[in-house]
Amino acid sequence: MSGVIESILSDFGSAAGRGVVVDSPPGAGKSTLVVRAARTLAEAGERLMVVAQTNEQVDDLIDRLATAAPNLAIGRLSASTYVPAQRVVKHGTVTVSGAVSDMNASAVTIGTAAKWATVTDGSWERAIVDEAYQMRSDMLLRVAGRFSRALFVGDPGQLDPFSVVAVERWAGLSWDPMQSAVAVLLRHNPDLPVHRLPVSWRLPPSAASVVSAAFYPFTPFEAGTKPADRRLEFSARALGGDHGLDATLETARRTGWALHELPARHTVRTDREAVAAIADLVTRLLQRGPVAYSEHAPDGRPVTVDRVAVGAAHRDQVAAIRQALAGTVAADVTVDTANRLQGREYDVTVILHPLSGRRDASAFHLEAGRLCVLASRHRHACVVVARAGIAELLDTHPSAEPVHLNVPVRFPDGWEANQAMLAHLSGDH
């Protein structure tokens, strides 16, 4: 791990080349790399610009950086409506301001891409662009004038940026504004060095091999831990209640994966039975008193409400699940869409399969990144709730997206990735 980081930093620090790209699979230490790089450069006396995509990400990064380097002067560039988060304010070294002129004393200036796009003057020798695969290339166009060279860090397997307008006008152009920042960067600068972080510290061995094979077919990675390092136990025995739920939880505990299959049926998006099944699974899980044993906590750490998350594809599904959980022991469990769960980590996740109960498989629901995000948030186990019949649905809906000239083929193909995941989930463990 440190070897890879050293070579990335030496590439980025060298005078040659204008940029370095780092591909990082889920939980491979991307944030560690960003903090380390920012610290190293700032301590060498360089003023550094850091671009993240959301306010949440900026705040997380500031918290980690200020903790790692307590003497570093950090500037937080923000919009006027931003209310500073507690984890930012508690560090005395952070200046929060909407004007870049207030940041002259800051060694590191961090802001969202949208905020950086409003900055019209000043330039930085080096920049770090975090979550660069989530950034749309038109946003990079707006901020790239501020820096001379940059380190682009991100996860190529996650959700591509999207637009609310559907226009094919730019398909095939190397600067297509709908593409991700890294895709456009690499098409114009094919010589830039691309590094890969080879080890996932988050995903357990049971998940790393599956996620790697399904979503990163040509850039495989491994788990940083051994099967014996991670273990999930229930402290309460299963007494009474629904045997189906306990069987699913037991499979998840034992193998790291479980498919909770409901009878085949076409449903509306907010499938009432699926929502109820998720609510029952999550509450049952918490009632069973799960304890996670890992390299961080060899003696076990209780899996509490904040270590469990529920993921779904659509906002209305999220709202329905939240409503079903309200008033239960699981009321404070994080429930969110794949987009919002990107970059987060939990011990156990319960996800509603994007294709569950659907009559058709649209490009949105087939997108590999969506399933990849949902299936790679957990340190111990992931329970997938789905209606039966997804395999047949996939077979009747091969991906039929129009093919455009000059558009590089995207890997993995969503249809194939979905098949691979499903084959693993429904196979014998």
Partner: protein, 494 residues
């Protein structure tokens, strides 16, 4: 597909009639639209075979190419089409909108070209692409109106990308935005079947009328692609007869036969398109339709004047990196505004937001219109109202809302309980800091709706100039000294 659309489709199946998705019409329908039904010859990207065009349903103008593969004949056809389209476009620029305030000149009308389906829009793009770079001089000269038609067709096609613009409409898209049928989206792309569901003839139901529409003899395809059986059995012999004709008399007879055959293919679509225009006219227009049409007229005015003065911007084959990003930014802002305006104009569109808990309708049960907030530097009028609602509200305190009845006013959610929502109002209450202007604050007993959308102006994004294109996007595009040559016509794939 949202739940409301799914419900409307299910109801359409049950009742046998298409169900309205909106309470008002969100698309402008001009007083004098130009309907254009194009047909192309199979096997070539944009080889026009025929077109039926005009502004009067009773007076269609039929244009046919005797040999669509012959370039000279093709551009003679385009010149004929140009005469119709350009005189229509110039006709729209004859009178000036006197009601418009300010110093800006705006024409009272703008062209509205209606094609039957999305394929027609694509055909307009291809025809514009193949004609706007032609020249009336040099090798292979064309009539001087041909490149001008190309510029207008390209202009119209580009406007069609702008959400809310009504200058180039695909009739099937407009109808499917307003009605839900009991058939699939793919089947809705067939104008005859779609209209069968919305306005079935005689005592047929929607499914029956749509089934009849599948017969290519009764309802030929709405173009630009033709029915393959027609191609093989009627069109090919007719074209061959024209090519074989030995004298003028034989040629004239063969041409008449070809024209009649092609007219039979297009006439039903022509009539259907006008039927759809009449149907749309029967629905009342949404409150902001006129605003969007005024925007169309502004853009038309600017382009018409620039073209007349010779200052019109070129229409390049592809956008530069900066132009592409700027255009996408504009389209996204227009899309957000269009979505917001539709929800504010139409309770049925707002109902989608109410279903998802982002908006609600209810009755005001308490109001303190004179409440003053003194916590800031200056005392400010901040009335509170309590709205009782049965909607499944999923809002967090602090969320900003707007009421369709009071667009200038902002409401902030103070608290939410299972039965009511407390809102704090700001702006749009007149100048007094103590007494809101009469009617500006909802009173107890009023029925109000609050939703998350606002059609307020969004400033455009800031982009570097073309010469400052950063290295990440290939750097500034090279400046090419232009010299006309035979290579101009060479494409990437040729």
């Amino acid at each position: 597909m949202s739940i409301l659309t799914a419900l409307a489709r299910a109801e359409a199946v049950e009742s046998g009639r298409a169900q309205p998705l909106t309470t008002v019409r969100h698309t402008h329908v001009a007083e004098r639209p130009l309907v254009l039904v194009p047909l192309s010859l199979a096997g070539e990207a944009a080889a026009p075979l025929a077109a039926i065009v005009g502004t009067d349903p009773g007076e269609p103008r039929l244009l046919v190419v005797a040999n669509p593969r012959d370039r000279t004949q093709r551009f003679d056809f385009v010149a004929e089409l140009a005469r119709v389209v350009l005189s229509y476009v110039d006709g729209c620029a004859r009178s000036v909108d006197t009601g418009a305030g300010g110093t800006k000149l705006r024409y009272a009308e703008a062209p509205q070209v209606i094609v039957p389906n999305r394929g027609g829009v694509e055909f307009v793009r291809l025809l514009g692409r193949s004609t706007r770079f032609r020249r009336p001089f040099g090798p292979y000269p064309v009539h001087r109106t041909v490149p001008i038609l190309g510029q207008w067709l390209t202009f119209l096609r580009e406007r069609a990308d702008h959400p809310g613009s009504s200058m180039l409409l695909a009739m099937t898209s407009v109808l499917s935005e307003h009605w839900a049928t009991g058939q699939s989206g793919l089947e809705d792309a067939n104008l005859a079947a779609l209209l069968g569901w919305i306005d079935p003839p005689g005592d047929l139901d929607g499914a029956g009328a749509a089934a009849l529409a599948e017969d290519p003899l009764r309802s030929p395809p709405a173009g630009p692609s033709t029915d393959p059986t027609f191609d093989n059995e009627i069109l090919a012999p007719a074209l061959a007869a024209v090519a074989r004709s030995i004298d003028d008399f034989a040629r004239e007879r063969a041409l008449a036969a070809l024209t009649a055959a092609v007219a039979d293919q297009m006439r039903p679509t022509w009539d259907l398109t006008w039927q759809a225009v009449r149907l749309l006219r029967t629905r009342p227009a949404g409150a902001s339709v006129e605003t969007r049409w005024a925007m169309d007229r502004d853009v038309f005015t600017m382009y018409h004047m620039a073209l007349a003065e010779g200052t019109a911007l070129p229409q390049p084959r592809r956008d530069s990196a900066v132009a592409a990003a700027g255009r996408l930014d504009r389209l996204e802002r227009e899309q957000a505004r269009y979505d917001a305006q539709r929800a504010l104009d139409d309770p049925l569109v707002m109902a989608e937001f109410r279903l998802s808990g982002e908006a609600f309708t209810g009755t005001v049960v308490a109001a303190s219109p004179n409440r003053v907030d003194t916590s800031g530097k200056k005392a400010a009028l901040r009335p509170h109202i309590t709205v009782q609602t049965d909607d499944p509200v999923r809002l967090e305190p602090g969320a900003h809302l707007v009421s369709p009845a009071r667009l200038a006013q902002q409401a902030t959610v103070v608290s939410v309980s299972s039965v009511d929502v407390v809102l704090e109002l700001s702006k749009g209450m007149g100048r007094s800091t103590k007494q809101p202007a009469p009617g500006s604050v909802p009173e107890v007993g009023d029925r109000v709706t609050y939703g998350p959308v606002t059609d307020a102006y969004q400033p455009p994004g800031r982009f570097p100039s073309r010469d400052d294109t950063p290295w990440t996007h290939g750097g500034p595009p090279p400046v090419i000294e232009y010299h006309a040559s035979d290579n101009d016509a060479v494409e990437d794939w040729s």
